[in-house]
């Protein structure tokens, strides 16, 4: 069966070029990049090249790039460093739609360390309440952390605008750009953020490699205390193979960025229009404009997400859902709840997230498969009769 992979916000295919770049370093070139000998140093040189490529991708200096084990570690390291830098400040700010990497960390800090946490709410479209955000900033605020793009809805927060305010007030600002990277342009200098997280596996590099951008001048304390690696900002022998792969992936992502905004956006819009037209009782979650070009999060009234996913899975279509039943929790995703998406469509919300590997033909397969799938489930649903909700 041919796989139609439209779950790229969950993870992406490792690009062939990336694999090719990494292969020698799995094999013969196994040296330690910190070694004095030439054998290790040739790996060191390659890691240096990768650092440059990552830096170029986000317009940073290579010295501002810290390699980590994943996006989650980058997020944790950023917040950890902020709290160590400002031990007297006991207030932290984020939104109520963050990825668990930030959300659960903040909950943990609140519970175990007594931090006062402001979870700034979003509106029905998933857009941030900026007034409330600005009002909650105070002298006691150690850090503001906000995602650049939401992993479920793809909705974007105005990072550059917010950074202006945090700079004015002298508050540290971290952004989780794990979903934004490779989909919209990222320029740390223009954005004016202090720290920024990336994750390799969302941009066609392997899983288990992340980046934390740390702006020059910030006195950064490491999360993993150990050796001198990463200039003392992250102990542990580098994951050289993945770093080298990530370097290549960043180079490719930079090249492919225009395609994201044209071709991939076109495919997403084509899928969106097709589904809205052919399936009554469907609606898009999240703001239509302030949104990643690759993400479509669409809710179907009166049906449940896990059932939809399993029927799509039988046809080789990979997507994900914000339904309770797929996650093991009982409420629909916290993002949909925060947006107050009505239950009638929240439970039946499916996320399609595309990459430049997708084709128009695949979008047609999704549309022609999904129409009868939704019909089948609605024929079974006590909340659907004669073409509408009851």
């Amino acid at each position: 069966m041919k796989i139609v992979y439209t779950d790229n916000n969950a993870t992406t295919k490792v690009a062939d070029e990336v694999i090719e770049e990494m292969l020698p370093y799995f094999g013969e070139l196994y040296g330690n990049p910190s070694s004095m000998h030439t054998f290790g140093d040739q790996v060191g040189k390659k890691v240096k090249e990768a650092r440059q490529r990552v830096a170029d991708f986000i317009n940073a200096d290579p010295d501002e790039i810290v390699f980590t084990s994943c996006g989650t570690e980058s997020d944790n390291a950023a917040i950890n460093a902020a709290l160590i830098a400002f031990p007297e400040k006991k207030h932290i700010i984020t939104s109520n739609v963050e990825h668990p990497a930030i959300n659960n960390l903040y909950q943990h800090l609140k519970k175990t360390k007594g931090y006062e946490v402001t979870f700034v709410p979003v509106d029905k479209k998933g857009l941030l309440d900026l007034d409330l955000l600005y009002k909650s900033m105070s002298d006691n605020t150690a850090i503001v952390s906000l995602m650049w793009a939401n992993n479920e809805t793809g909705v974007l927060f105005p990072i550059e605008e917010i950074a202006k305010k945090t700079r004015e007030k002298g508050i540290l600002f971290h952004t989780d750009a794990v979903q934004a990277a490779g989909k919209i342009p990222i320029d740390v200098k223009k954005a004016g953020v202090d720290m920024l997280s990336l994750s390799g596996h969302k941009i066609h590099a392997p899983k288990g490699i992340g980046v934390l951008y740390v702006k020059k001048g910030f006195k950064f304390s490491p999360l993993l205390i150990g050796g001198h690696q990463e200039k003392g900002r992250r102990g542990g022998t580098e994951n050289t193979v993945s770093i080298i792969g990530l370097g290549k992936a960043c180079e490719l992502a930079k090249e492919n960025l225009p395609i994201m905004n044209t071709e991939v956006r076109g495919l997403r819009d084509y899928l969106q229009t097709g589904l809205l037209e052919k399936i009554p009782g469907s609606s898009v979650n999240g703001d239509l404009e302030q949104r990643l070009p690759n993400t479509l999060y669409i809710g179907f009234d009166a049906v449940e997400g896990e059932s939809i996913l399993l029927l799509l899975d039988r046809e080789g279509i990979c997507a994900s859902s914000g339904s309770a039943c797929t996650s093991g929790s009982l409420d629909p995703s916290h993002v949909l709840m925060a947006m107050k998406v009505p239950f009638k469509s929240a439970h039946g919300s499916i996320r399609f997230s595309l990459s430049h590997y997708n084709t128009k033909e695949e979008m047609d397969i999704i549309i022609t498969t999904l129409v009868p799938v939704i019909q089948k489930l609605r024929d079974m649903s006590p909340f659907w009769k004669d073409g509408k909700m009851v």
Binding site: E304, A324, L330, S381, P382, F383
Partner: protein
């Protein structure tokens, strides 16, 4: 991905007895759109109180659909007295077991069946006895006590898996713990 048995998959992909039942003379409904699953069970019962036919309409995940389908197959041909003895375990066993996080789907089947039988017999189940513990999923202390005793539940997590109670906002988890302790204390 959930670990579903072949029977669950089969009943999900080819559900038996789906749709409204013409001539049904008993209906039992449970769950809601907000909860994420709901089941409407239709029965056609003859004058000897035998279930001549049964059907269902379900909104929910694969195991909710499969539990509903299994339930209708199990009870067809039974008398109401026999059907009244069906438990959520019978439904789960019929399907070769459900993941523990999904046991509430089989509980939903049992509950709809109870209501359909009461509906046929003209017994009104007005408000539920006991005190509401979980506001999100409308679960009472008596329901929790029953489920704990019937299924030998040990932890609040077990209670959530069976009744959903505590799985929403989580505010009642301490209260569930108290109910659990009280059952344990009584032995």
């Amino acid at each position: 991905m959930w670990d579903y048995t072949d029977q669950v998959k089969d009943h999900f992909l080819k559900p038996r007895n789906v749709g409204e039942l013409k001539g049904a003379n008993a209906i039992g409904e449970t769950g809601s759109l907000n909860c994420g699953d709901a089941l409407r069970l239709y029965l056609k019962v003859n004058k000897n109180e035998r279930i001549m036919d049964a059907s269902f309409m379900t909104f929910g995940c694969a195991s909710a659909v499969a539990s509903s389908s299994a339930l209708t197959e199990i009870i067809k041909g039974m008398t109401l007295d026999e059907a009244a003895k069906i438990t959520n375990d019978d439904i789960s066993d019929y399907l070769g077991g459900l993941p523990k996080e999904k046991m509430h789907c089989s509980v939903m089947g049992q509950s709809a069946l109870k209501k359909a039988i009461a509906n046929f017999r003209g017994v009104q189940i007005l408000s539920k006895p006991g005190q509401i513990v979980c506001e999100c999923f409308d679960v009472t202390d008596l329901e929790i006590i029953d489920a704990v005793k019937a299924n030998g539940l040990e932890t609040t997590e077990d209670v959530t898996n069976y009744l959903k109670a505590g799985g929403g906002c989580g505010q009642c988890l301490d209260r569930i713990e108290e109910v659990l302790e009280s059952v344990k204390a009584k032995g």
